[in-house]
């Protein structure tokens, strides 16, 4: 009987001296979905991924992948996996097609480099040296390399970090296409929009632990029916915060930017406008929005995803 999860981990632990980089992490990754590990830098996402990719060994815990229980990811498993490393590099003096051919030779069966080039939209650059590629192009090549063996499971470690918006969108469209083709993706990121746009399942990680897990909608709904109101009040922000505190779930003041969580939007807005009139302060840049994953993280940890 096939389980619904392609991969699952149980109680994974990895310690470096005093620090527990991965502190009893358990999750399971459903088939043909994008599973995202979301968290700030240093949360343990990459370490977890490295254990699953087989380049690091966990101190304890269980891994089950492709229906087999393993302590350590082995060669047979790697045949069916594709990996995009964080800050990885290729030989700068190889041509793009040569890189794909090189990696193709590592697997028992691989796709044709030309096909992959088409998929990652690098056909024009097939004969260019790696060192002449832009950041976005290098990343697309890295994805191509991760796909060269037509893997069932693909790891993408921070795939869009440091890229410009256009390049990020290119990568996103490639990733969406992968699940359409039936592949399972494990993604790590500290970008909230990436997690929301691409993923079916999001696990939030902080300090080596999973602190929440679910679909993006489930996670944001966990905050209840609240709405977020944000505005700029400059020096008078303290006064505004005080005025609104009673009517809201929480008020946050970060250097003049006030952020309010409220269950009763209308009441809060009324209080805000009243105060604005009484204090004679113009309220600027007001935004009313639904909560997002950043807000979820904030409410769980008291910190932002990106410090």
């Amino acid at each position: 009987m096939e389980s619904a999860a392609l991969m699952s981990v149980a109680n994974l632990v990895k310690t470096y001296g005093e620090v527990r980089a991965v502190d009893g992490v358990s999750f399971s990754v459903p088939r043909a979905e994008v599973f995202t590990l979301l968290g700030p830098n240093g949360a343990g996402k990459t370490t977890t991924l490295e254990i699953l990719e087989g380049i690091r060994e966990a101190d304890s815990g269980e891994i089950e992948v492709f229906g087999r229980k393993l302590r350590r990811v082995d060669r047979a498993t790697k045949e069916r996996m594709g990996v995009l490393l964080q800050e990885g590099n290729f030989e700068p003096y190889l041509k793009v097609r040569e890189v794909l051919r090189l990696f193709a030779s590592f697997f028992r069966s691989a796709r044709s480099p030309n096909e992959v080039l088409r998929e990652i939209a690098l056909e024009e650059k097939a004969a260019s040296l790696v060192k002449t590629l832009s950041g976005g192009q290098k990343q697309r090549l890295a994805i191509g390399v991760a796909l060269i063996n037509d893997p069932e499971l693909v790891f993408l470690d921070e795939p869009t970090t440091g890229l410009d918006p256009q390049a990020r969108r290119n990568i996103w469209s490639i990733v969406s296409g992968l699940t359409a083709a039936g592949k399972t993706i494990i993604l790590t990121t500290h970008y909230m929009d990436e997690a929301e746009t691409l993923s079916q399942t999001v696990s939030i990680m902080d300090h080596g632990r999973l602190i929440a897990c679910g679909t993006p909608r489930e996670l944001t709904s966990s905050l209840g029916q609240e709405t977020i109101v944000e505005f700029v009040a400059g020096e008078r922000a303290a006064g505004a915060s005080e005025a609104l505190a009673a009517s809201c779930r929480s008020v946050r003041n970060e250097a003049g930017l006030v952020s309010v969580e409220t269950d009763d939007l209308v009441a809060t807005l009324r209080r805000l406008l009243d105060w604005s009139r009484e204090a004679g302060v113009a309220v600027a840049d007001m935004v009313v929005r639904q909560p997002n994953l950043e807000d979820v993280f904030l409410s769980l940890t008291g910190r932002r995803l990106r410090e």
Partner: protein, 399 residues
């Protein structure tokens, strides 16, 4: 293409495309061979120098045969013969000038390098020689040759003048009937050091350059690729695939051997077609030595890579180690007496034994060590390097 071949191909292709690597493994040995061959290949034939010589003849009394003889002999060498340039350019005092002033002026010119030598024939030289001839005592006066301190050209000019004066002396003795040509001493020359008849410096140096090229490729190429590859996570990209270290290493070694082959062919070809060297590198025994050398220096490169902590540190270490091993390996000239510290390095240095072995089996020089010993030392180095590297070398950062 299998993984091993693909990795080997990558090694070769990137080495040929990257300018720094190309310099070390190709340009450097070829350049060195060219320089050494040009400079020392000509040493048998005298250099094409014309020396500026001043001749100050203070012995102008009538009948001063000796003085005249010297001046004439020097004069002969200042005349061009056919195509070649004359050896000397003579400067003599004008007819009406004061010889003393002229001498002083020429000595100044000598000091600052405008003359290679100043030949001073003191007053009364011929008379003193005539007196010595009759009285069978040593002559009181001699030709004075002034040379400039710290200048090799001056040393050379002075020694040439000494030779000429000796010839004039000889002809004087013959003319005075004091010397019997029939009883002249027979002097012969014996050239030693295997293949002496056909010896040319180029033949001697080509095996040395071949070994040096292999040495430099291993010493710089290996740590460079491994250490930078590890730091930049180029290697890690391989370890997340089914490719494992043994297969990667096999491909790496194969690629390295391919590079060594290219290098050897180029060195041999340059030596053969540009400098007429005849060194039989491509016979079974020399090929064995060359193969062993390639593997030895590959292993040595891994040793350096495993000892260094960072990529830059590794390259610095390679540079520091490079010089003593290359120069204390007897590649460019035979090593004579050395102080014990340096001798110790020489006796431990694999370059010494491999260079010696290659020369021996190609017949360009007599081997100082038995072939078995040389091969054994190289093999021992391979084993030691392999052991240390396999113990210390990490193939991924931060494990």
């Amino acid at each position: 293409m299998t993984a091993i071949l693909a990795v080997a191909r990558t090694y070769v292709v990137t080495a040929c495309r990257e300018r720094e690597t190309l310099f070390w493994f190709l340009v450097f040995p070829l350049l060195l061979l060219t320089l050494l061959a040009l400079i020392f290949g000509n040493i048998g034939e005298s250099g094409a120098m014309t020396y500026d010589i001043a001749v100050v003849n203070l012995d102008t009394a009538p009948g001063a045969a000796a003085a005249a003889g010297v001046v004439a002999a020097l004069g002969q060498l200042s005349v061009a013969e056919g195509e070649s340039r004359p050896l000397f350019r003579l400067h003599t005092a004008a007819a009406d000038s004061d010889p003393g002033t002229f001498l002083a002026a020429e000595l100044d010119a000598l000091r600052i390098g405008r003359r290679a030598a100043v030949v001073e024939i003191p007053q009364g030289l011929s008379a003193s020689i005539a007196a010595a001839a009759h009285g069978s005592v040593a002559a009181e006066l001699a030709v004075r040759v002034h040379k400039s301190g710290g200048r090799t050209s001056s040393d050379m000019a002075a020694s040439i003048v000494e030779d000429i004066v000796a010839q004039v002396d000889h002809s004087l003795l013959v003319r005075m009937g004091l010397y019997d040509e029939a009883r002249a001493l027979r002097v012969e020359r014996l050239d030693l050091g295997a293949n002496a008849e056909t010896f040319s410096y180029v033949d001697f140096v080509v095996p040395g350059i071949a070994i040096m090229g292999l040495f430099v490729s291993g010493l710089f190429g290996v740590p460079g690729t491994i250490l930078f590859g590890r730091e930049r996570k180029v290697l890690r990209a391989y370890w997340v695939t089914p490719l494992d270290v043994p297969h990667y290493f096999a491909g790496f070694a194969l690629g390295h051997l391919a590079i060594c082959t290219i290098q050897l062919v180029c060195v041999w070809a340059l030596g053969r077609f540009a400098f007429g060297a005849h060194v039989a590198l491509f016979r079974p025994l020399p090929l064995l030595v060359l193969l062993l050398a390639s593997v030895t220096f590959l292993a040595f490169g891994f040793l350096v890579a495993s000892v260094a902590r960072t990529a830059n540190g590794g390259m610095a270490l390679a540079n520091i180690v490079n010089m003593p091993m290359m120069f204390l390996g007897g590649l460019f000239y035979p090593l004579g007496q050395l102080p014990s510290a340096l001798r110790a390095i020489m006796m431990v240095n694999p370059v010494t034994y491999l260079g010696d072995a290659l020369r021996g089996v190609t017949g360009t020089a007599a081997a100082s060590f038995p072939l078995g010993v040389s091969l054994g030392v190289a093999a021992a180095w391979i084993v030691v390097c392999a052991l240390v590297a396999s113990w210390r070398l990490t193939w991924d950062v931060g494990r």
